[in-house]
């Protein structure tokens, strides 16, 4: 980048001006020793607050621990019990529905918004900043707005639908199983569109204009130009964005916690909320740890497949 071309003043440093700890400093002149020293803070934090809890979680999932009691080893019992647990099965199904439907919507709408934003128009920069807002603000707080937009008596959506004579009665958005899931999907899609759009837009802007011109001269229509010029250029960035979005949506907690807490009748129960409910509210830490760990192989397979696919053509 341009900063690299700026002339840098070479600092002239007196060689003899080394006092205390000069031996320590000298040892850091070795490239690998210096690298290891620099990695210490990161490794300490990750070991204490990530690796250790992860190992502890694996251990807990094999025990019948409850809050305040460490419990004892019960092998795979937690995992087996969950397989026969109706609510857990619903949870798995809900999580896949929630993730699958929102990813498709976010991808389609995000790409649409990116294509629109890639056209020249006035105040484009201002729009780009404004339309990023849903992604940027705290989800828990925007979820409060959605809580009201989906309120059974105060919803302006219902009010508008009633005044347009589309419905006669109130709509119990969050109190009806199917509508509750639909509401969550709407709110999650709303939040995620900007992330897809901005990332894909950055990919679109790397496509050289002459590539489009060359394709036009060769007689490609706009659909062909999209398939053969645009899509290959944004393929990598789109897949990476999908990877992140799938993981965060699959492991989502706060939006569901604020809007439905998993209800009604577990119709919006997902891994995050069930882990919270069983592990903390009902204090069955062992069982909760097992629920959370069930996410791991699923996320590993999805991420692995996507990463493999991303790397394949790089």
């Amino acid at each position: 980048m341009d900063s690299a071309q700026r002339p840098v003043q070479r600092p002239t440093l007196p060689l003899k001006q080394r006092g205390v700890g000069s031996r320590f400093q000298a040892s850091l002149q070795s490239e690998s020793a210096f690298a290891r020293m620099l990695l210490v803070p990161t490794l300490v934090v990750l070991a204490l607050f990530m690796l250790y809890p992860f190992a502890l979680g694996v251990w807990l999932s094999f025990t019948n621990a409850v809050v305040g009691h460490s419990g004892h080893w019960i092998g795979l019992k937690n995992f087996e019990n969950l397989l026969h647990d109706k609510i857990f099965r619903t949870t798995v199904r809900n999580t896949f529905t929630y993730t699958g439907v929102t990813i498709v919507l976010k991808l389609a709408l995000g790409m649409g918004l990116a294509l629109v934003m890639n056209q020249p128009f006035r105040f484009r920069k201002g729009f780009r900043a404004l339309l990023l807002l849903p992604f940027i603000v705290p989800t828990a707080l925007s979820a409060i707005a959605w809580l009201m937009l989906f309120d059974s008596s105060l919803s302006p959506i219902t009010w508008a639908a009633q005044h347009l004579h589309l419905v006669n009665n109130r709509i119990n958005w969050l109190g009806t199983p199917r509508l509750a899931m639909t509401s969550l999907i709407i709110a999650n899609t709303w939040r995620g569109i900007p992330f897809f759009a901005i990332s894909i837009l950055a990919g679109l802007q790397t496509v050289p204009t002459d590539l489009y011109e060359a394709a036009s001269i060769d007689g490609a229509g706009s659909i062909q130009r999209f398939i053969y010029v645009t899509l290959p250029a944004i393929r990598a960035v789109t897949l990476v964005v999908m990877l992140f979005s799938i993981i965060t949506t699959f492991a989502d907690f706060q939006l569901i916690y604020v809007l439905t807490k998993g209800g009604p009748f577990n119709s919006t129960q997902v891994f995050g909320t069930l882990t919270y409910q069983r592990g903390l509210s009902a204090t069955n830490i062992g069982e909760g740890a097992a629920i959370a760990l069930y996410m791991l192989p699923i996320l590993a397979i999805i991420s692995g497949a996507l990463l493999w696919y991303i790397r394949r053509e790089d």
């Binding site: 900063s3 690299a4 070479r10 600092p11 007196p14 400093q25 490239e31 210096f34 290891r36 990695l39 803070p41 990161t42 934090v45 990750l46 204490l48 607050f49 990530m50 250790y52 809890p53 992860f54 502890l56 979680g57 807990l60 629109v116 128009f121 729009f127 990023l132 807002l133 849903p134 705290p138 989800t139 828990a140 707080l141 925007s142 707005a145 959605w146 009201m148 105060l154 302006p156 569109i193 950055a202 204009t209 489009y212 960035v237 964005v241 992140f244 965060t248 699959f250 492991a251 989502d252 907690f253 706060q254 604020v258 995050g272 882990t275 903390l280 830490i285 959370a292 996410m295 996320l299």
Partner: protein, 299 residues
């Protein structure tokens, strides 16, 4: 430099052909602005809604005869109620302390780690880089339950340290991954010549490379700050008393209680709580977008 293909004047064979081109262009504009209007409406309506509810008296909300899409009476009562009768200001302060602390800690660790992984050759470097990338993919939902045990066994429960030390588990992997890319883009010769002139490795890093990586460091910092400000799950679980809650958790768990919702104050809280992150990124929107996409492209 760039010549937009549509602007190249094409020799019009006839008047009607010219008209067709114009009509097509008009249609394109209409579709473009139509789509833009729809997206803007859908993405910004919830914010408009927060605003109008926050400036209306709560009794107006329940009056079904009033059109809910604009305020009929204006009031600031919801704001004064929020600021004087609730712990909202305290939550804002807590969130600031935690976000600044976690960002500072993560930024230092990420700069070091990003420099080591992106710049220095040492055994195990690639494996560590991969490990940190994988750490970036681990969602907090997977860890919060055992982490809550760890926090209480370290006696950190209900303290700022609980969050300042646990947020870096997702901030450092992102930050070091982002900065790794920045450090790699700076030519090696600059450091090498500084070291020939007698600079130590530490000096070469802090005086030569870090100033050049400033844009990357700023975007890593903004990203860390907004992620900390917005965090919900860890804060919900590790902070038990009303006084220690962060802004998003306090608003959700303390202001939504029972059957009576103070919608006006809730929306005021949602708006005020969104302002710091909105300001943070509106000043640095370009770096922010670059960071967002660099993070994802490099992934």
């Amino acid at each position: 430099m760039a010549i937009a293909p549509a602007e190249v004047p094409i020799q019009a064979p006839s008047v009607s052909g010219n008209q067709m081109v114009q009509r097509r262009r008009l249609l394109r504009r209409v579709i473009l602005y139509g789509c833009l209007a729809l997206f803007t409406l859908a993405l910004l309506f919830p914010f408009y809604w927060m605003f109008i509810v926050s400036v209306r008296p709560d009794r107006d909300l329940l009056n079904v005869r009033l059109n809910p899409f604009y305020p009929h009476h204006w009031t600031l009562k919801n704001y004064t109620h929020l600021l004087s009768d609730t712990e909202f200001l305290r939550w804002t302060w807590n969130t600031t302390v935690v976000a600044v602390g976690a960002t500072a800690l993560s930024l230092v660790a990420s700069i070091f780690a990003g420099y080591a992984l992106g710049r220095l050759r040492f055994r195990g470097g690639n494996t560590l880089g991969l490990g940190i990338f994988l750490a970036y993919l681990v969602p907090p939902t997977l860890l919060f339950l055992p982490l809550s045990q760890v926090i209480s066994s370290f006696h950190l429960g209900n303290t700022y340290w609980a969050l300042i030390l646990s947020y870096p588990t997702f901030l450092i992997p992102f930050g070091s991954w982002l900065l790794m890319g920045y450090f790699r883009s700076i030519p090696r010769e600059l450091e090498e010549s500084a070291m020939i002139d007698g600079a130590s490795r530490w000096q070469a890093m802090t005086r030569i490379v870090l100033p050049l990586a400033m844009p990357g460091i700023i975007s890593a910092g903004i990203f860390s700050f907004t992620l900390s400000w917005n965090e919900f799950l860890y804060s919900l679980i590790f902070m038990s008393t009303t006084k220690m809650k962060t802004l998003p958790v306090g608003t959700v768990s303390e202001l939504i209680k029972g059957d009576v919702f103070f919608w006006g104050s809730l929306m005021a809280a949602a708006l005020i709580g969104s302002v710091p992150v909105a300001i943070a990124y509106s000043f640095f929107v370009d770096q922010y977008v670059a960071g967002l996409t660099a993070g994802s492209v490099k992934g």
